[in-house]
Every structure is written in structure tokens, then in C-alpha cells.
């Protein structure tokens, strides 16, 4: 990130100026599109240079898609693709007579693609205005104008005592403050609990907190990564909307351990229900004295601001997320420096996934040993939320222990596939995760075991493709997503994903050697896990489904 731009943002933030992204989003919401006058106003109000604001306005999907009086966003995520082969998208395009990203001549309706809405349990999903509807007949309802908010299945825990699927009660923070646990002691406990990041990288949270604690800065921040952009994943959505207080408690504990004074939750704009839920919980927490000055008489002060994103998958990467939070283009920055040393406004910042933070209150309340006991015998401590896509008989969010068999998860917990179909392959952890063929379903569900299969645990979404889905189509779908979401900074990803996508577009045979070279370039050369991770599923397909890929 530009040090100078971060400094300018910091100075204007101190004067309560809005970010440029805030102002631009407001303009789009008001009038459906952006003009240069909007950009100049955003520059004047945010204190950023006009050129910088122009750059921001051309990066985020929410700012680029023109909106008609009726704005229809159709999900083109992997779960919806697995459900319909994107037939629902084609149906809407031909029915409205406009392309994705276009507005009708008379301005009455606009169609945009969105990835993903978090309704993967009921794919396909469509957002009509602010109503998210989903299900096999959703297209008909959209065309009839009778969309209703789709129901979401209740979540379940397979643990003897649910940890993540019950409401938060601030008992962790209460114990720490009432018993006068020193911040260093809390940090030690969290480190001993070996909480691995749940967002995908699996980095130990305690270690990250330790770096931030050790770094110098006038202020420190906790940022919750609520940009759950992986298609097929809706775990954080459930956490933010059903137990937002648990997330806030986790953030407060992190702040206490690290010495931070304020927290931010970056919520993706594709989850319109999450921000209100979090703000309501924060309001309640303030009333109850769990946020604000002198929490519970301890002298510890902490509060949280919820910020909405603007439509970019890469913003889930921690440095891009911080850029977005500051209203800049959501591009990835080289590390070092790491956010723990220099993050938001150049200050030490902990960026943790929502689910990771939701694990912290239990450790604070019950200790590291109890936490490790949640997954007895497994390599990873704590519990994990997993979610299943619409192909399964019983989709939804489930709390499980690490180390259980993937087959058990798919066939017992989620009931196998509906309509008697069979699992052809699973993509676990998101679009950058490897693909597990049905033959390998007995793999234990844990970080290392899955990695040995060229797969990743990632964020824990389990997405099944059934026998109707062509793996070449899957490759094309994933690469199209990858290329569209590339932030454009590093050369391998910016150009390489475009070339890879082109290889699978149309019917031309794919030259394997050229593809392998491209995959190596992406894997070894990319600046972040977006370009770096895209080869994994393609490599799985090459290994397990070479005949379906149309190789030369």
C-alpha cells in the first residue's frame, strides 16, 4: 500500500472524514451510477487526490455495475453453477434481454452478476433489490416479481456440547476482566490453544497476536475479516448474523491481549443482513457495558465499527482488506511489512477471520486444554464449522471436530446427495482448493491430511459436483472466476489467469505442457494466494479427470 496514501487516509480519518469508498458507494446507491462529479466530491470529502479516487471507482464491482430502478443480482458462484450449470443466469439474461453488467434502455431494470450470496444451501440464488431469494424456481419468481427472502436452514453441532453454534454470552471477557487476567497471560493461553486461522491460511492466531503486541504504534487495531467471498461458503454469514455478539467478544479479547483500542469488521456487501445484525449486537453490547470506555470497570476500552465492502473477492486477502477498509483500491501488498507491524493507518493490526475470532471466547472462558479437547486425537485443536451446498440432502452449517472422515461428513451428516445422485468430486475450502474425487472420500478432514491430497481445508466449505457436471466446465468456471477477481497487480495472476481461462474457453483442445508451465508460473510467481492457489484445483482435475478436460 502506498505509505503516503495510507498517511493521508489516517489524517483525514482523525478528522472524521468518510473514506472515498464510503462516498462513492453512497452515490451509486442514490443514483445508480457514478459520474465525475461524484468522484470529485468523494475526493473533496475524503481528502484523497482525485486520481486516486478515480482508481478506486474503477476497481469494485458495486461501483462499476450500473443500477436501474430495479437492480437484479444473479449469483454466478460455484454452488449455483453446480446446481444449474449456470442455466439460471442464461434464463435471466434472455428474459430481461440484457447482458450481465448492463442496464435496460429505459433504466427500469439492470442485471449484474454477484459471487456469492451465501445461499449455497438453496442454489440458485438471486438478489432482487435487497431481497435474496433462492431455490429451483427462483427464476420464475424473479420474472414474476414475487421474490421473498429465502429461508436458511438452522445450524447444528455434532459436539457433545455446542461451542460455536450457541449464542455468545460474554463469559470469556467477563472471566478475563473479573479475574484480572493480564493481557500477556491471555495471549499465552490463546497461543497454547493453538487456534489456527479459519480463513484458509491456518496461521496460528496467537503467533499473529504476539507480533502485533510486540510492534510499536500509537494505536493498534483488530480487524475481523468478514469478506467470506469463497463461493460455496456461508459459515461466517451465519456467525455474523446469528451470533454477532460472539464475534464482538472475540475481537474485544484480541484487543485486550494485543493492546488495541478499536476494531473493525469488514463485511462483504453481498451479505446485506450481516452489517445490521452486527451493529445491533454492538449497540446492545454498549448498553450492557461490554463495549466502550472502562469495560466492566477494568479500565480497558474497546469499540467496534462495521464497514461494508464493495464487491471484490481479493479483498479477503488481509492486505487488500486493509486497503479496502481505508477506501483505497483493494490490491494486495507485498509482505513484509506484515499488518501486525504496519497495517490499518500504518499501525499494528491483527486481521483475523470471523470464525477464528469466534473461537476465542471459549478459550478465554475455559482454557487451552478444554479447547484442544474439542477435537480429540486430531492434529488441530478446537472445533470447525463446515457447510454444504444445495446438492446435498441436508445442506447447512454444522459444527464438527477435526479429523473426522470426509465421507462421514458427506454421507452421514449431510445425508449424501439429493435425488439419489452420486458425488463425482468435492471442492473443499473454496475456489482455490484442490478437488477431491469420490475415490478419496475417506480422507480425514484436517489441514495436513487434505493437503496431502492436493486439497485444502481452507474455510471449510464442502461443495459437491454430481455426475451431471463436466469437469472441463468446472475448470472454465473456476478460471473465469479467478481472472475476473484478479486484483491486477502482479503479472503472473493478471495475465496468467487470463491466458488460462482462454485455454478452456470454446472447444479447442488444451495443450497440457503449456498449461503445466502456466500453473507453475502462477503457483511460484503470484504475489498472493489468489494467483498462487488457482493451480491447485486445476492440478487436481488434471490428475483425477484428465479425460474430461479436453486435453490435446
Amino acid at each position: 500500500m502506498s505509505r503516503n496514501l495510507v498517511e493521508l487516509v489516517r489524517r483525514h480519518h482523525a478528522l472524521d472524514a468518510p473514506t472515498a469508498l464510503d462516498v462513492l458507494k453512497q452515490a451509486v446507491e442514490l443514483r445508480g451510477e457514478l459520474t465525475d462529479a461524484d468522484r470529485r466530491e468523494a475526493a473533496a470529502r475524503s481528502g484523497l487526490p482525485e486520481a486516486t479516487v478515480h482508481g478506486v471507482s474503477t476497481f469494485y464491482d458495486d461501483l462499476l455495475q450500473p443500477r436501474g430502478a430495479r437492480h437484479v443480482r444473479v449469483c454466478t458462484g460455484t454452488a449455483c453453477f453446480a446446481a444449474t450449470g449456470d442455466a439460471h443466469v442464461d434464463a435471466l439474461r434472455s428474459a430481461f434481454g440484457i447482458e450481465l453488467g448492463e442496464r435496460s434502455e429505459d433504466g427500469s431494470v439492470s442485471l449484474a452478476e454477484t459471487v456469492c450470496l451465501g445461499f449455497c444451501h438453496s442454489s440458485p440464488a438471486v438478489r432482487d433489490g435487497d431481497t435474496i431469494d433462492a431455490g429451483p424456481d427462483v427464476v420464475a419468481r424473479v420474472l414474476a416479481g414475487t421474490c421473498v427472502a429465502a429461508p436458511e436452514p438452522a445450524w447444528e453441532s455434532t459436539l457433545a456440547e455446542p461451542v460455536l453454534t450457541r449464542p455468545g454470552d460474554w463469559s470469556g471477557l467477563a472471566r478475563v476482566l473479573d479475574e484480572g487476567v493480564a493481557p500477556e497471560a491471555l495471549l499465552e493461553e490463546v497461543t497454547a490453544a493453538e487456534i489456527r486461522g479459519r480463513g484458509g491460511a491456518g496461521f496460528p492466531a496467537g503467533v499473529k497476536w504476539g507480533f502485533a503486541r510486540a510492534s510499536e504504534g500509537d494505536e493498534k487495531f483488530i480487524v475481523a475479516n468478514g469478506d467470506e467471498g469463497d463461493p460455496g461458503s456461508y459459515i461466517d454469514k451465519y456467525l455474523m448474523e446469528r451470533t454477532p455478539e460472539r464475534l464482538l467478544e472475540g475481537m474485544a479479547l484480541a484487543a485486550y491481549a494485543v493492546g488495541a483500542s478499536h476494531g473493525f469488521v469488514l463485511v462483504r456487501s453481498e451479505y446485506p443482513l450481516s452489517k445490521p445484525a452486527l451493529e445491533q449486537a454492538a449497540s446492545a453490547a454498549r448498553s450492557d457495558g461490554w463495549l466502550g470506555e472502562d469495560i466492566h470497570g477494568s479500565g480497558f476500552a474497546f469499540d467496534v465499527t462495521v464497514v461494508e465492502g464493495a464487491g471484490s473477492y481479493v479483498v479477503g486477502e488481509e492486505t487488500a482488506l486493509l486497503a479496502c477498509l481505508q477506501g483505497l483500491r483493494g490490491t494486495v501488498s507485498a509482505r513484509p511489512p506484515f499488518p501486525a507491524q504496519s497495517g490499518l493507518h500504518g499501525m499494528p493490526t491483527v486481521v483475523n477471520n470471523v470464525e477464528t475470532l469466534c473461537n476465542v471466547p471459549f478459550v478465554a472462558a475455559r482454557g487451552a486444554d478444554a479447547y484442544r479437547a474439542l477435537s480429540p486425537g486430531a492434529a488441530t485443536s478446537g472445533s470447525k464449522l463446515v457447510c454444504f451446498n444445495e446438492r446435498f440432502a441436508r445442506p447447512g452449517v454444522y459444527e464438527v471436530s477435526f479429523g473426522v472422515s470426509t465421507r462421514w461428513l458427506c454421507e452421514e451428516l449431510a445425508g449424501g446427495l439429493r435425488e439419489g445422485r452420486t458425488i463425482k468430486a468435492l471442492q473443499i475450502g473454496g475456489p482455490l482448493g484442490g478437488i477431491l474425487p469420490a475415490a478419496r472420500l475417506d480422507t480425514p478432514f484436517d489441514f495436513d491430511a487434505l493437503a496431502a491430497e492436493g486439497c485444502m481445508l481452507g474455510h471449510g466449505g464442502i461443495l459437491a459436483f454430481d455426475d451431471r457436471t463436466s469437469m472441463r466446465d468446472v475448470a472454465r468456471h473456476l478460471l473465469r472466476f479467478g481472472a475476473h477477481e484478479s486484483c491486477g497487480k502482479c503479472f503472473p495472476c493478471r495475465i496468467g489467469l487470463q491466458r488460462a481461462q482462454a485455454m478452456f474457453t470454446g472447444d479447442a483442445p488444451v495443450e497440457r505442457e503449456r498449461l503445466e508451465q502456466l500453473l507453475e508460473t502462477l503457483e511460484l510467481g503470484s504475489l498472493c494466494a489468489h494467483g498462487g492457489g488457482m493451480p491447485a484445483p486445476i492440478r487436481s482435475l488434471l490428475k483425477w479427470f484428465p479425460d474430461e478436460l479436453g486435453l490435446a
Binding site: R3, N4, E7, L8
Partner: protein, 688 residues
């Protein structure tokens, strides 16, 4: 070819790229100490003037006043010059002749010129344009500290925790230094800007103060008051290294922030905060420009700036420096070279027997001990009939000096005027002989930048047609007048300078290399990035506090002239625009505009872009208005880049009490829209 830029006092090192004998492009030198691989649109792009068809390419002689000049040979021009100057000297004495050295020309050119005037003609009537910009700085720094130059380098901005920038707009006047200051502020340096206009850097600083033009002294005294009151005086430093503090102490009680607010219009809290920011910084710099010096009491304000730095001991170490932003590329050097009526090289008085004798020995002729005329005195003397001839090189006094009417009158009163320049100018209109000279791209020698850094200049191309380098011309004129300068090359001239000037002892072209040297340079070549680390160069080694009360400026707004005009520069053009107007820069800015605040504009029924009339006690001009919030109500601002505007018609005779630097920054004016038919010729108020 690597050379040094000929535009402003930053002294960017540049790489010139030549194709077929013409400049194809100029790029910044990565290892330039002042510019570090950066430069501005003037040094980078504004070089097309070098091949502009209006370049003087042959000598010109004007046979009679009012006629157009005609081409002549060098021999003919030389004969005419020798004949006239000799005649005038016989009839009226050597002091009836004066010379003006160009602050754009090299150290060697200026040294040659002052030697010509002193040895070939026999007078100390030699001056340079620092007179109208930083002469107050030179005077004050010598008086307070000892040496006439910045006490540190531009790199001190990088090491400072705070800086007070007063009366300068470096993002326009010294772009590369302005950029450097801006980067420092973004890294956390606390910048306080003091200027009637809200300059660009004010948006990056922590505090901006907008004093009434002419009230800088009160502001500085207010800051000094707060520093003393709140216990920030560095007593150890004051006692060990200064003298005269008690006199200042007696003055300070009258300048409490409230009193200063009444005088300057700056809120008392602003004075308090500025003082605190400066005093609490571990290291802090002061930087100033012509907004401090071009005032009636400019030299006093600079002394007060020194007072504040001395009170807190913030001088003589990295990050704590006094950095006047010298305007021209070699205004520092032209004065260092003694192209001044009262000093030889390194500011040693013409009245000093030992110094005068050393030059007499070196040059083999007796030299006058009598101080010569300053530029304003030259014009007064011309009008009075005491000055009969002038030899001006590289300066357009008719456009850039104040009170144009008086200047023109003076030039027309002379019997003989020689101008040596690269283009015809407002001044050459009055010349009897015009000699075609060289630009910075066509000569070799050295420039001294605002950091006292002497840097090499290397020619990239030849002067056009029959034009010659200034060095060769001055040598030829001196020889023709009977005084052989005896140098082959400018390097030889520098060797003489080094031999006769202790502060320059270690300087030679060979030693300067790519990075130059900051004087004083010891005989072994050790240079001086920081001055006064252990002692000041005044007698006794102590710095001197000046106790100077605030006094009113030479002009003030009243009912008839209710607004105050400040004149200055913009980014795209350089001073008279002689060079920049002949480059693509005119596409970026093609006229002088009068900046006026929306409140004043509304009151006067002036819309943005309207043509307006501006009238002062001595003159009237017309130009378009630019309505902007960057300026405070009550003030207006314009530039002097375009001769057709004749901005300096407005500026009167008020000047610095010690150095005669004109008060360009405080001119009371009346501004109003003009009718449908603007006057064709600007009229003078109250007669010529």
C-alpha cells in the same frame, strides 16, 4: 553530458541528450545531491528556448534612439563599446559607469564581470539581481551568524522533526525541494506554513498562519515571546555561543500573542502553537523565501528568524538549519563572487585594506576603496545624470525591477547602454549595443545553489550563430578596455578565485566532480554541509541577537487602495519568462492572472476570468482575474512572467532599509472590473 540546471536555486543535476547539435531531451541525474533523480518541468522540458528563432545570434547596434537595432560584427560592436566607455570615463570618471552581473550566469562569468568593472573600468558600481530578492538574507545572516548562506543542506528537511516555512511557496518556486518537504511531512515532519496565501504545502502541514503582508516581524517576535515565556530558551547555548540576548529580552514583553494578533491578524493561538511546535521539536528548520525578504524590513525579519533559532539552539546540526530558498540558479554564487558594490568575493568589504590589496596584487591595478551603487541607486543616479553608462548582462530590469516607469526613465537617461543577453527583452529596447550571449546549456563553469553547493556546468550545445559564451565576451571586452584577464578557460578563473578567497581555497573544477562541494572548502577539499557546528564566523565566534521592533511596511491599504498585492512566481514559468515563454510551457500557462478571494471578487462584481484593472500609487495594469480560495480576503496575488502585463508598473519605491531590496510583497492596490472596451495601453497614475 551532466550539467546543473539554470533555472532555480535548487540546482538539479541534469543529463543532457543531444542530437544533431540540438537538445533532444534532458533527464534528471540519479546522483544529483539536491535532486536525487528528480526534477521539474522547467529543468526537464523547458529547453526549446535554446533553439528558438528569436535567439540573438549576432551583435546588434542601435545607431540612434528610437530606431531599430541593426546587425553588426563583433569587431564593430567592441569598437563601439570601447569608444563609448572610454569617452564617458574620461569625461565623467569611472563611477559614471555601472555594471549588472547576471545571477543566471556562472560564478566564473560573474567573477569576470566584477573584475572587469573594478580593474578595467575602475569602479565598484557592480551589482546583481540578488539585490531584488535575497539581499536582505545575505545581510542578515552575515550580521547574525557570519556567513551569507544557508546553514545546512536540503537533506536537513529529511532529518527535521518540524519546519517553519515562511514567505515561500516551494511546490511552485522550488518544485524539487517542495516535493522533498512534502514527502517529509508525510513521514511525520510537522510543517508550519506562514504566508498570506494558503499554499499547497499548507494542506500537508499541521498549522497555517496568514499574516497581513508586512507583519512578519511581529509574528517572529510573537514566537520568540512564547518561547521565552514557556521556558524553551536553551540557556546553555545562548550563554556559550551568542551575544546580545538581553537586548532582545527587553523587547519581547511587548509582543505577547494578543498584541501580535492585533498587528498581524494571526490568531493568538496560532502564534502559541507555532512556537510550541518549533520549540518542542528535537530538531527543527526554518526556511523562507522572498515573502520574507522583499519587504521594507525584510533584513530585520531574517535577523529575527535567526534570533528564534539561536534562542533554542537549533542550529549547527543535522535537522536544525536555516534554509533560505535562493531564487535563481546562481544568485548565491553571483553574490559570493563579489558582483556587489560593497564587497569582493566571500563578502569581504571593498573598504578592507588587506583584502583590497590582495586583489590589487593579483590584478596589477589600483582599486577603488569607495562603495559603489546598488541597482536602485544606479537608476536614481542615471535619472540625476551622475550615471552615464551601464553594462547589463543577463537581466531584464525593465520587466523585473519595481517601478517600471522609473526604470525605463533611468535607462533612457543613460548616454550608453550595453546589454548582453540571449533574447531581446524589455531592457534591450533601450540598449545601444546588444551582444548575443549563451544560455546555461551552452557554457561551462559553476553555479552555487541554495545549499552553498558549487556544482559544475558543462555545455551540451553551442550558442547559435555568432553568439558567444558570456565568459568569452567579458574577457574580450575587458581586453579591449585594456585589462587582460589572463584566463584560458573558466576553470582557470576558478583557480584564481580559490587562490584569493580563503573560503573557496579547496575548490577547483577537477575536485567538484559529480557532487560539487559546499563552501567553505578547506585547502584539502573538505567541504561544509553544516555551518556553525562549533562556532560562528563573526569576530569572537559568537552569534548576534538583534532586538528589532516591528515597524509598519512601506505601503498600506487605505480607502483609495483597499487591497494588498503580493507578487511572485508560478510553477510553469521562471521570473521574466524569457526562457520559459519560448517553450511548450506556454501551453500550460499563457498569461499572468490576478488571484482574488471569492468574497472580494463578489464585492467588486468580478467573475472568474474577467479582465480587470489593477491600480497602485504609481501605476496601472490590466489582466484576467482568477477567483480562488487559496488567498485570504484583502490580498491579491499575481506573477510577472509575461512582459505584456507589466506587473512591476505597480510596484513603488519602498525597499528594505538595509539592502534596498524592493517591497514587491506589499503594494496597495485598487482592483475593479473594466468596461467593454479595455484601454489599449496601460496608463500611469499621476503622470510619468
Amino acid at each position: 553530458m551532466t550539467t546543473t540546471c539554470g533555472y532555480c536555486g535548487v540546482g538539479c543535476r541534469l543529463e543532457t541528450h543531444v542530437h544533431d547539435g540540438r537538445i533532444a531531451s534532458i533527464t534528471p541525474a540519479m546522483d544529483g545531491p539536491a535532486n536525487l533523480g528528480h526534477t521539474c518541468l522547467k529543468g526537464r522540458f523547458a529547453h526549446q528556448f535554446s533553439r528558438n528563432r528569436e535567439r540573438l545570434a549576432t551583435p546588434l547596434i542601435r545607431d540612434a534612439r528610437g530606431e531599430a537595432p541593426r546587425p553588426a560584427t563583433w569587431d564593430e560592436a567592441m569598437e563601439r563599446i570601447v569608444a563609448e566607455l572610454t569617452r564617458i570615463r574620461s569625461a565623467h570618471g569611472p563611477n559614471a559607469i555601472a555594471g549588472l552581473a547576471s545571477s543566471r550566469a556562472t560564478n566564473e562569468d560573474c567573477y569576470a564581470m566584477q573584475r572587469l568593472m573594478r580593474a578595467a573600468i575602475g569602479t565598484n558600481n557592480i551589482d546583481n539581481c540578488s539585490r531584488v530578492c535575497h539581499s536582505p538574507t545575505s545581510y542578515a545572516l552575515r550580521k547574525a551568524l557570519g556567513l551569507s548562506g544557508a546553514t545546512g543542506s536540503f537533506s536537513d528537511f529529511d532529518h527535521a522533526d518540524a519546519t517553519i516555512l515562511i514567505g515561500a511557496n516551494p511546490t511552485e518556486g522550488h518544485p524539487v525541494v517542495g516535493a522533498r518537504i512534502k514527502q517529509a511531512t508525510l513521514r511525520g515532519m510537522k510543517l508550519v506554513t506562514i504566508d498570506p496565501r494558503r499554499i499547497e504545502l499548507a494542506d500537508y502541514g499541521v498549522l497555517h498562519l496568514s499574516p497581513r503582508p508586512g507583519s512578519n516581524a511581529a509574528v517572529m517576535l510573537g514566537i520568540a515571546h512564547v518561547i521565552e515565556r514557556d521556558g524553551f530558551v536553551n540557556r546553555a547555548f545562548v550563554d556559550a555561543r551568542t551575544e546580545g540576548f538581553d537586548a532582545l529580552l527587553e523587547l519581547l514583553p511587548s509582543y505577547a500573542p494578543d498584541a501580535v494578533e492585533a498587528i498581524s491578524g494571526v490568531p493568538a493561538e496560532g502564534i502559541e502553537e507555532a512556537a510550541r511546535i518549533y520549540a518542542e521539536a528535537a530538531n527543527a528548520c526554518f526556511s523562507w523565501g522572498l515573502g520574507v525578504t522583499e519587504h521594507k524590513y525584510g533584513s530585520e525579519v531574517v535577523q529575527l528568524v535567526c534570533d528564534v533559532a539561536l534562542m533554542t539552539g537549533k542550529i549547527g546540526r543535522p535537522g536544525s538549519a536555516l534554509l533560505p530558498l535562493r531564487g535563481q540558479n546562481n544568485v548565491q554564487g553571483s553574490s559570493d563572487m563579489g558582483a556587489l558594490p560593497d564587497t569582493y568575493t566571500a563578502y569581504r568589504s571593498v573598504e578592507d585594506e588587506d583584502v583590497a590589496r590582495s586583489f590589487e596584487d593579483a590584478w596589477g591595478v589600483p582599486l577603488s576603496r569607495r562603495k559603489g551603487y546598488t541597482i536602485p541607486q544606479m537608476f536614481d543616479a542615471a535619472v540625476a545624470g551622475d550615471l552615464r553608462a551601464m553594462y547589463i548582462f543577463g537581466e531584464d530590469v525593465a520587466q523585473t525591477d519595481p517601478n517600471t516607469a522609473h526604470v525605463v526613465h533611468a535607462l533612457e537617461s543613460l548616454d550608453f547602454l550595453v546589454c548582453q543577453d540571449i533574447f531581446e527583452t524589455e531592457t534591450t529596447k533601450h540598449a545601444d549595443v546588444i551582444l548575443p550571449a549563451s544560455s546555461f546549456l551552452e557554457k561551462s563553469g559553476t553555479f552555487t545553489n541554495a545549499e552553498r553547493r558549487v556544482q559544475l556546468v558543462a555545455p551540451a550545445i553551442d550558442p547559435p550563430g555568432e553568439a558567444r559564451t558570456d565568459f568569452e565576451i567579458i574577457k574580450a571586452v575587458s581586453r579591449a578596455l585594456g585589462h587582460e584577464l589572463g584566463w584560458e578557460t573558466p576553470a582557470d578563473a576558478m583557480d584564481e578565485i580559490a587562490a584569493l578567497t580563503p573560503d573557496w581555497a579547496g575548490i577547483s573544477h577537477e575536485r567538484l566532480g559529480r557532487r560539487g562541494l559546499q563552501w567553505p572548502v578547506a585547502p584539502d577539499g573538505t567541504d561544509a554541509p553544516i555551518l556553525y557546528e562549533r562556532s560562528f564566523t563573526r569576530k569572537g565566534g559568537r552569534a548576534h541577537f538583534a532586538a528589532l521592533p516591528y515597524k509598519e511596511p512601506g505601503d498600506a491599504a487605505d480607502d483609495e487602495f483597499p487591497l494588498i498585492l503580493v507578487t511572485g512566481r508560478r510553477l510553469q514559468h521562471y521570473n521574466a519568462g524569457t526562457m520559459t515563454r519560448r517553450t511548450g510551457n506556454v501551453e500550460l500557462m499563457d498569461a499572468d492572472l490576478l488571484e482574488i478571494h471569492p468574497d472580494d471578487a463578489a464585492r467588486l462584481w468580478i467573475a472568474d476570468g474577467d479582465r480587470i484593472s489593477v491600480r497602485s500609487r504609481v501605476g496601472r495594469i490590466e489582466l484576467p482575474a482568477q477567483v480562488t480560495e487559496r488567498i485570504e480576503p484583502g490580498h491579491v496575488f499575481t506573477t510577472f512572467h509575461f512582459p505584456e502585463t507589466r506587473t512591476n508598473l505597480l510596484v513603488g519605491a519602498s525597499a528594505d532599509v538595509n539592502t534596498s531590496c524592493p517591497e514587491y510583497k506589499v503594494v496597495a492596490v485598487d482592483v475593479r472590473p473594466i468596461g467593454e472596451e479595455p484601454a489599449k495601453v496601460p496608463a500611469l497614475a499621476g503622470g510619468a
